[in-house]
């Protein structure tokens, strides 16, 4: 038999064996860690906390919202000790469907609250994550068989093109190495107790500075805004899947005898004017009201941008409020709203 040379042996024998062994090592590691959840972002933390908490507690309010509200609720203490409030705020990436799944997970282990407050930008209600975002914030977080089936109810089966389908089918071979972060690194961090999920449903500790109504007019902010005058805002579009999701979420709230409060979080003045001029927000509120009335769900609305919208320079980017005064101001408004309107 002809002796194979060093180069051929390297490329035809040694390299494939090494690749196989590495794949095998990752499969074994992933198998050993399969009982531990990956903690990659705030939503993972909240889900992990709910899953591991067996207190069956009762809280008056579940507060949902996107990152605009999350920034504030994670930082400031909007709690006056007379009511229990659970911080369920996430970000837009998981959408309203993520909020619904989080609510279901919470009420599976705890008593339903008296009130659900959703304080978010309007797009949080209509956003459905897709592709990688869907995988990162939805299907890999709410990953039981029931939850996966539940999620698929709200998605068009033809959501992917032929090539995307092919790509996802290849990915469904599900080699552990293709998703090292989820299969190995994050579960490992979880085991090593490097990820703290203990207070992931609690609110921030910073004391809110009282704001007088005149303060806002005199605020001088030297920070420059990252301006982008060319921003093109997209209209609010409600799909049939979106309507179905709203109906199902509302029905669940009705069954649990929960009162729903929806408050629109601060948005840039430009965006507010855009929404107002197109009657977009009214349209969304009307649809939500109609869906609630059909099943007799108690619902009420509030808008933090009304009557005086937040100025553009209050934002550090397209959505989020600047540190300091403006965040404190929103925290102040949110606390007062919950105290005066919800209770």
């Amino acid at each position: 038999m002809k002796k194979i040379n060093k180069k051929n042996r390297f490329i035809l024998i040694q390299l494939p064996i090494c690749i196989f062994l590495i794949l095998l090592i990752f499969e074994i590691l992933a198998y050993l860690l399969s009982d531990f959840r990956a903690i990659r972002h705030g939503l993972d933390r909240k889900v992990s906390y709910i899953e591991n908490d067996n207190n069956n507690s009762f809280n008056d309010i579940l507060l949902f919202g996107d990152s605009v509200t999350k920034d504030i609720v994670d930082e400031y203490n909007i709690y006056r000790e007379k009511y229990g409030i659970v911080n369920m705020t996430t970000n837009r990436a998981s959408g309203f469907i993520g909020a619904f799944l989080l609510y279901k997970k919470y009420t599976k282990k705890n008593k339903p609250p008296k009130y659900v407050v959703v304080s978010s930008t309007p797009h949080f209600i209509t956003f459905f994550p897709e592709h990688k975002t869907k995988e990162l914030y939805l299907t890999s977080v709410f990953n039981s068989k029931d939850e996966i089936n539940f999620i698929s109810k709200y998605y068009d089966k033809k959501e992917y093109s032929f090539f995307q389908n092919l790509k996802y089918k290849i990915k469904s071979i599900d080699l552990s190495i293709l998703n090292i972060e989820n299969n190995i690194i994050y579960p490992l961090l979880n085991i090593l107790a490097l990820v703290d999920t203990s207070d992931s449903l609690s609110i921030g500790k910073k004391i809110i500075t009282e704001v007088k109504s005149t303060n806002r007019n005199s605020i001088i902010n030297y920070n420059k805004v990252i301006s982008n005058n060319n921003t093109k805002y997209s209209p609010i579009i409600i799909s049939s899947f979106n309507e179905k999701l709203i109906e199902d979420f509302f029905r669940k709230l009705k069954d649990d005898e929960v009162k729903l409060f929806i408050s629109w979080a601060p948005i840039k003045e430009n965006y507010f004017r855009y929404l107002s001029s197109n009657n977009q927000l009214n349209m969304l509120e009307n649809i939500l009201k109609k869906k609630a009335m059909e099943i007799n769900l108690d619902i009420s609305f509030h808008n933090f941008s009304y009557p005086k919208p937040f100025p553009n320079q209050a934002f550090r980017d397209e959505d989020h409020l600047k540190l300091g005064y403006w965040r404190n101001y929103y925290a102040f408004l949110l606390r007062n709203y919950i105290e005066n309107k919800v209770f």
Binding site: K6, K7, R9, F10, I11, Q14, L15, I17, C18, I19, L21, I22, L23, E75, K132, I177, L178, I180, L194, V195, D196, K206, N223, K224, V225, I226, R316, D317, K322, L323, G324
Partner: protein, 481 residues
């Protein structure tokens, strides 16, 4: 087309390799034809319209080269250089020139033809070398191949004809290619640097730069720009390694572009290790002639011999990167650094300890990188004002839970906003920094690949970890030039 795209890795490259090796095994000498065809396809993939510009440039320079060689007249060389400069000036700098010199106020959002800086400068050097008689003009197909060869076309390394032409002839002589496995190895080292290291640093850099006007602090500014330095190095040296690796797959050795630059103990040392082919280009074709001319006209005055040639060279090399004042300042900071370094040596000042020299070098480089990364001059100046204002020093609010630091003000700061993220940031930074110093220069001719289990497992790791990170598809930073 990007080297880190699936279409390139799974379709374009394998098809190109198979056809190339079939041709190579046959009696037909069509290697340059097949590679030129694939190179033009590669160039035209995303923006086919610029292919016409590339072809115009190649055809024109082909004729200039022959004319210069035949007549040996300086004015023909001058016309050739003016033609190339005009091409790049029109397609890359016309708004900048109009705004700077004609007082216009046009938004500088020109869509620049891919790789124009690279193929223009490569051909200017080619014409100069022809005039100097250091090389002969090429046959059209060889000229087309020399300029358009896809591994080096888009972002260098800037290849000189005298380095590559002898290799093209060898390639056509049907010599057996011994560098294929080495090429695979070098390519995957580059791909790993790009997709596993550089692309994973992007979010950390972006957080800092997105928060320039949102209470970014002193430490955060230095951390952000240091992280960007690592991102830029892995991105560009990764691309250069891939280019060298691809060249080796076809039996050609392209010049190296990087040699562990973050080990440099001085600015002079740094520019011998960073973007080596560009430095060589500017040294041979701008600095040296200019310095020589100055010394003839103004005698041996340091200002004319050293300072002015360096400033001109570095300002123009800065401008080569982009038509914006921020790139002029990028060049200027490095130019001033080099002048100081040369004057230090000239006046025989005491040699600095390695660590001090390294620190000063890195600080200069980081300052220049602020201009490189910032979106505009205003942003760069604001960022620098934070970097050089230690009073904007706050300890992150979460640290109060663990340590009571009375002498430091505490605040909610944007980059190190949580303990977990801060630890992650530090781990990523230290890991990347260690690799930047430790990954050997595999693209160098001195690197010898051993065909043993160690290198097989290393290559397996590089392949697997590169492929699983492919989906990000972040463009190469130097593609914009």
């Amino acid at each position: 087309m990007l080297f880190n795209s699936e279409i390139f890795l799974y379709f374009f490259l394998p098809l190109c390799l198979v056809l190339f090796y079939i041709i190579k095994g046959s009696r037909y000498r069509l290697e340059t034809l097949i590679l030129s065809f694939f190179s033009l396809l590669f160039y035209a993939w995303d923006e086919p319209k610029w292919l016409i510009l590339l072809l115009i440039s190649i055809v024109s320079n082909y004729f200039f080269a022959h004319k210069i060689y035949k007549d040996n007249r300086r004015y023909i060389l001058t016309i050739g250089i003016i033609f190339n400069i005009s091409l790049i000036a029109w397609f890359k700098y016309r708004y900048f020139i109009a705004n700077t010199f004609l007082g216009s106020n046009i938004e500088n959002n020109l869509f620049i033809p891919l790789a124009i800086s690279f193929f223009t400068f490569q051909q200017i050097a080619f014409l100069v070398d022809i005039y100097d008689k250091s090389i002969k003009p090429l046959k059209f197909l060889d000229h087309l191949f020399f300029v358009s060869f896809f591994p080096q076309l888009i972002a260098g390394p800037i290849v000189l004809a005298k380095d590559i032409v002898p290799q093209i002839n060898k390639m056509k002589d049907k010599q057996i290619i011994n560098s294929f496995i080495l090429g695979v190895f070098v390519f995957f080292v580059g791909l790993f640097k790009k997709v596993f290291l550089a692309d994973n640093l992007v979010p950390y850099v972006n957080i800092g730069f997105n928060n320039i006007y949102n209470a970014l602090t002193f430490i955060e500014a230095w951390s952000t720009i240091s992280m960007f330095a690592l991102q830029l190095y892995f991105d560009f040296s990764g691309y250069s390694d891939m280019a060298v690796g691809l060249g080796l797959l076809f039996g050609l050795r392209l010049p190296i572009n990087f040699n562990l630059p973050y080990k440099s103990k001085s600015i002079i040392d740094f520019w011998k290790r960073w973007h080596i082919t560009l430095t060589k280009f500017f040294t041979f074709y701008l600095y040296s002639p200019l310095s020589l001319y100055m010394s003839r006209v103004f005698s041996n005055n340091l200002i004319f011999l050293l300072i002015i040639p360096f400033l001109v060279t570095f300002i123009l090399s800065g401008l080569w990167h982009g038509s914006d004042w921020k790139f002029v300042f990028f060049g200027l900071v490095n130019g001033v650094g080099l002048i100081v370094n040369h004057l230090w040596k000239f006046y025989k000042m005491p040699k600095l300890p390695y660590i001090l020299g390294w620190l000063l070098t890195m600080m200069t480089i980081l300052v220049s990188f602020v201009f490189f990364r910032a979106n505009n001059m205003e942003e760069a100046m604001h960022f620098l004002s934070i970097m050089f204002n230690p009073s904007i020093f706050f300890s992150p609010h979460w640290l109060e839970q663990y340590i009571d630091i009375k002498f430091l003000k505490s605040a909610y700061i944007p980059l190190f906003s949580s303990g977990v993220f801060t630890v992650k940031y530090l781990v990523v930074f230290l890991f990347s920094f260690t690799l930047a110093l430790k990954i050997p220069n595999v693209a160098s001719i001195n690197f010898k690949l051993k065909y043993n289990w160690y290198y097989a497992s290393l290559l397996a790791i590089l392949i697997l970890f590169s492929i699983i990170n492919l989906n990000k598809q972040v463009s190469f930073i130097y593609f914009q030039f």
